[in-house]
């Protein structure tokens, strides 16, 4: 499973990138880049997100 960002919900606030222990998420101001190879499916970012924009999806999503 890989963290996947719902970009319609995402506020590009960086709360998820701050807590990801594996630097698998990178905020680029108007997008969040997910390094799928680094994501370990730990789910920490899912809880951190203030708006519930992250889901763990098999294989990961597009953004």
């Amino acid at each position: 499973m890989v963290a996947t960002i719902n970009k319609d919900k995402c506020m590009y606030c960086g709360a998820c990138t701050s807590v990801c222990p594996f630097m698998a998420l990178e905020l680029r101001e108007t997008s969040i880049h997910v390094y799928s190879d680094k994501c370990t499916d730990c789910g920490i970012c899912v809880k951190a997100c203030p708006v519930g924009a992250i889901k763990l999806i098999p294989g990961g999503g597009k953004e």
Partner: protein, 408 residues
């Protein structure tokens, strides 16, 4: 815009920490570049915009109505059952402040930094640091689509709570989830305020688990209405704010949103290492945030002078090693280390209180058993013993639980 490739100092991040560091470094004659990935300084904000007079003095700015939106002379603390504790901080000698328009304020700050000689580069995402012989020697940045490598004697990581630059440099700056507050806010117009000169703070486990809801006035009917909850919570910050606004329909029925903000707030101790070879951390990136209320703009500003003194000295002596730069951390810890430890203790205490105990504190203040200044002092890590002793008196059944905090 064309930019030189060699600098004395490159500052990554143009928030309050980075902008002010840029100014102080330039004032000391250092050739300084401040870089941010945003295309506009100050926007989008991730902030409730509360700033006290003490920090405004340190910012070096004259109060200007362009950014000083609303004078604040105190706060109203609201208990889980809705009891209001009014505190006029100005009257009890604890000072006041403003709710600012952060975007304008940061642009004023940046203009001052530029007048001091600093240069700025925007829409520039720093994606890596240049490391050679165990030293950080510069950064790799994508500036409006162009890949650039810029070199400097020192890199200052002022990149906010993300603190990725520090991690790239090899420092452990990953924020543990339980030490972060997840924040969500609407800036709204048409809000009914209790008093436009007071910040409203709402507490309770149903309202904001291990956090609080705030209403910060930005005019007679405009306010930042936000929430911070512990990051490890299952429901989202947005859920709690929407729920609360719905429950307070009477105050919000004529209101609507003019801006939506979100963000993570470090509410813990500062990072263990502020410096490495050729790198210095400041602001949220070093977690210089007051862990009781989450305010971080002031401490971010204040650190700039300390950082610039040490950077200037290191660059002049040709030694930018971790050992040489360590003095910056020592100076900061000397000033705030003890205070932050005490504030964190206050936070941990309040996180464990249940709603009845919060209610009991409100009752004690309202009935005169505790003076309101004790509550203000908590924000500086003082007065915890007094509160615990008063609580033990009010609820002897909880004495054992409470005594634990007196010892710890």
């Amino acid at each position: 815009m064309k930019y030189d490739t060699n600098w004395d100092v490159i500052v990554v991040g143009a928030g309050p920490a980075g902008i002010k560091a840029g100014e102080e470094l330039a004032k000391r004659g250092l050739k300084t570049l401040v870089i941010d990935r945003k295309q506009e300084i100050g926007a989008p904000k991730r902030c409730g915009e509360g700033l006290s007079d003490r920090w405004i003095a340190i910012s070096g700015l004259e109060v200007d109505p362009t950014w000083a939106r609303q004078r604040i002379n105190g706060a109203i603390l609201i208990s889980p059952k809705g009891k209001q504790v009014w505190i006029d901080t100005e009257k009890i000698g604890k000072g006041g402040g403003y709710i600012i328009e952060r975007k304008m304020w940061e642009k004023f700050l940046a203009a001052n930094a530029i007048r001091a000689g600093a240069k700025f580069m925007l829409k520039a995402n720093v994606h890596d640091v240049i490391k050679e012989d165990e030293y950080v020697k510069g950064i790799k940045v994508n500036y409006m689509g162009d890949e650039l490598e810029l070199r400097s004697k020192i890199v200052v990581a002022a990149d906010g709570v993300d603190s990725r630059i520090g991690r790239m440099a090899g420092l452990n700056t990953t924020l543990p989830l339980v030490e972060m507050d997840s924040g969500f806010q609407y800036e709204m117009a048409g809000v009914k305020l209790l008093d436009p000169n007071k910040m409203e703070l709402y507490f309770g486990s149903e309202i904001a688990p291990r956090g609080y809801i705030w209403v910060f006035p930005k005019g007679k009917d405009v306010a930042n209405v936000g929430v911070g909850i512990n990051g490890a919570h299952d429901k989202t910050a947005r859920y709690y704010l929407d729920k609360w606004i719905e429950e307070n329909e009477e105050r919000f029925k004529d209101a609507s949103v003019i801006e939506i903000n979100a963000g993570g707030i470090p509410v813990t101790s500062p990072v263990e290492e502020f410096v490495g070879n050729g790198i210095m951390l400041t602001g949220d990136a070093a977690r210089m945030v007051n862990p009781i209320h989450g305010g971080g703009m002031g401490t971010a500003l204040e650190a700039a002078g300390m950082l610039a003194d040490v950077a200037k000295d290191a660059i002049s002596s040709g030694d930018v090693s971790k050992e040489k730069l360590q003095r910056y951390q020592d100076i900061w810890m000397e000033k705030h280390g003890d205070e932050f430890r005490k504030i964190l203790k206050v936070r941990h205490f309040f996180e464990k209180l249940n709603d009845d105990q919060l209610e009991a504190i409100a009752d004690m203040v309202l009935k005169g058993g505790l003076t309101p200044d004790v509550l203000v002092d908590l924000g500086h890590g003082k007065g915890l013993t007094q509160i615990i002793k008063a609580l033990i008196k009010a609820s002897p059944s909880a004495a054992k639980f409470l005594m634990g905090f007196l010892k710890g």
